[in-house]
């Protein structure tokens, strides 16, 4: 059966759909977070080299992953919006940016607070760190550009171009690890010696990453709803909402 995707691409339909999905993602995010935190602090063993400092990994790595994924997803939706002139995808892209920037900041922050005890410096100009910093600038550039443009359609399209152009930068900065000698850790498994500990740690990390996913989705959905309302405040369906009519 053919699904009518355009139905879901209409902001009005999405508004209600998102409204029903948010509680689900919120609940799942909270549950995963609780499990993840429990594993991080009570199951995962003390590290052989780093003692307890390594526990930062449970937010650092999920945040770093999210920061990159969210950028790609944002660029994807922005590109779709530009190519097919679908309003909803552009709105989703704008909704992703702040969350992505927040995770990028967190990756930087937790990395810095991990680096101080491990490397003896808050910051080194290492490839991975630098690439993450540039990612933050890409997010901020995207948001500032959109904020500087009053007309939402123009803001969408302009943002899409800069987001797409910025994507080119992601592999470049990411693979530059190979061109620069780096202080930053490679695979996380090398952190601990025995496979059993690695498992506990890995599970913790993955669960925290999943929690971050769920959290991001919930945030993005709520933000998208706000953007939809802001842009469609004068349409018929919003006026219907005002009169308290519910739709399914």
């Amino acid at each position: 059966m053919a699904i009518n995707w355009f139905k879901y691409a209409s902001p009005a339909t999405f508004y209600f759909l998102a409204g029903r999905m948010i509680p689900f993602f919120t609940v799942v995010a909270v549950l995963l977070l609780l499990v993840g935190l429990y594993i991080s602090f009570f199951v995962a063993p003390t590290d052989f080299q780093q003692s307890e400092a390594y526990r930062i990994i449970f937010i650092h790595v999920p945040a770093a992953w999210m920061s990159m994924f969210l950028y790609l997803i944002m660029a994807f939706w922005a590109g779709i919006g530009l190519a097919f002139n679908t309003r909803l995808s552009s709105m989703v892209a704008s909704a992703i940016a702040p969350t992505g920037a927040m995770f990028t900041f967190l990756a930087l922050w937790t990395g810095a607070w991990w680096g101080k005890p491990m490397w003896g410096a808050w910051w080194v100009w290492d490839a991975r760190l630098t690439s993450e910093l540039i990612l933050l600038f890409l997010y901020i550039g995207f948001m500032s550009l959109q904020a500087a443009i009053d007309d939402p359609r123009r803001a969408d399209k302009a943002g899409a171009i800069i987001a797409l152009v910025g994507v080119v930068n992601i592999p470049i900065i990411y693979f530059s690890v190979q061109w620069w000698n780096t202080l930053h850790q490679g695979a996380s498994v090398s952190l601990v010696q025995s496979p059993k500990m690695a498992t506990a740690m890995l599970t913790g990390m993955l669960i925290m990453a999943l929690a971050a996913w769920m959290y991001s989705i919930a945030m993005i959905l709520i933000r998208t709803r706000s953007i939809i309302l802001e842009r469609e405040s004068r349409t018929a369906w919003v006026s219907e909402l005002k009169e308290g009519v519910t739709r399914s």
């Binding site: 410096a121 910051w123 080194v124 290492d126 630098t130 910093l133 600038f137 901020i140 500032s144 904020a147």
Partner: protein, 219 residues
């Protein structure tokens, strides 16, 4: 009246909040670019840090100079300022203060964080911040003269740098010098008293010189 001007310029800046943030980010980005060009060795970077932060502050403040009068010039507000019953020097002082509040203060506030990137010790961070606090108003005040002189000239944006950079040099030398002196364990009071002297002189002379330049540019 001077308050009206400051209020207006801040209002204009707030109307586009991005505006204030972008000067700041320009500063951050420039400071962060150098290690990319120079390479990641911490010892070299630590030596360069005060110089780089100061040069970046100087460039950031200078870039924003373009906007100081040019908007008012092209839309005719400047004509009206010349014809205002209030003294032009006071108006100009207001504009310089607003420029400093918008471009200087955020730099001062963020500088310690950037210093950490270069692994500067705590005392140096403090001296760096203080030196910027005293130096950036001088940059705005001197810059106002340059901006006024190059008004309406094509390529004014680049010409203005040519005019003001030489005047910025002493501020740069003593500003960055103070930090280096403190890092080397020497006294930095002498540097600070010189920065203070620059500030005084520019507060006294710059509004007058800027007002004269404006009259010449509009004549």
């Amino acid at each position: 009246m001077i308050l009206w001007i400051i209020k207006r310029d801040l209002l204009l800046a707030m109307r586009r909040r991005a505006d204030v943030l972008t000067t700041l980010f320009f500063f951050i980005i420039v400071v962060s670019l150098f290690p990319l060009g120079v390479g990641p060795e911490m010892n070299t970077l630590r030596i360069m840090a005060p110089g780089i932060v100061w040069v970046a502050a100087l460039l950031a403040s200078m870039l924003a100079l373009g906007r100081m009068f040019s908007g008012d010039y092209t839309d005719g507000t400047l004509e009206q300022m010349l014809l205002s019953p209030v003294s032009l020097s006071a108006l100009v002082m207001g504009k310089a203060i607003a420029h400093w509040l918008i471009t200087g203060v955020p730099l001062v506030l963020i500088a310690p964080v950037l210093g950490i990137q270069y692994d500067l010790p705590a005392e140096s961070l403090m001296v760096l911040t203080l030196s910027l606090l005293m130096g950036t108003p001088v940059l705005s005040l001197i810059g106002a003269i340059g901006a006024a002189l190059t008004l309406g000239l094509r390529g004014g944006g680049v010409l203005v740098s040519l005019l003001v950079l030489p005047l910025y040099v002493p501020v740069l030398i003593f500003g960055a010098g103070a930090v280096e002196a403190s890092a080397a364990g020497l006294g930095f009071e002498a540097h600070f008293s010189l920065l203070g002297a620059f500030l005084l002189v520019s507060v006294v002379c710059s509004p007058w010189a800027t007002a004269a330049s404006l009259r010449i540019s509009m004549g």
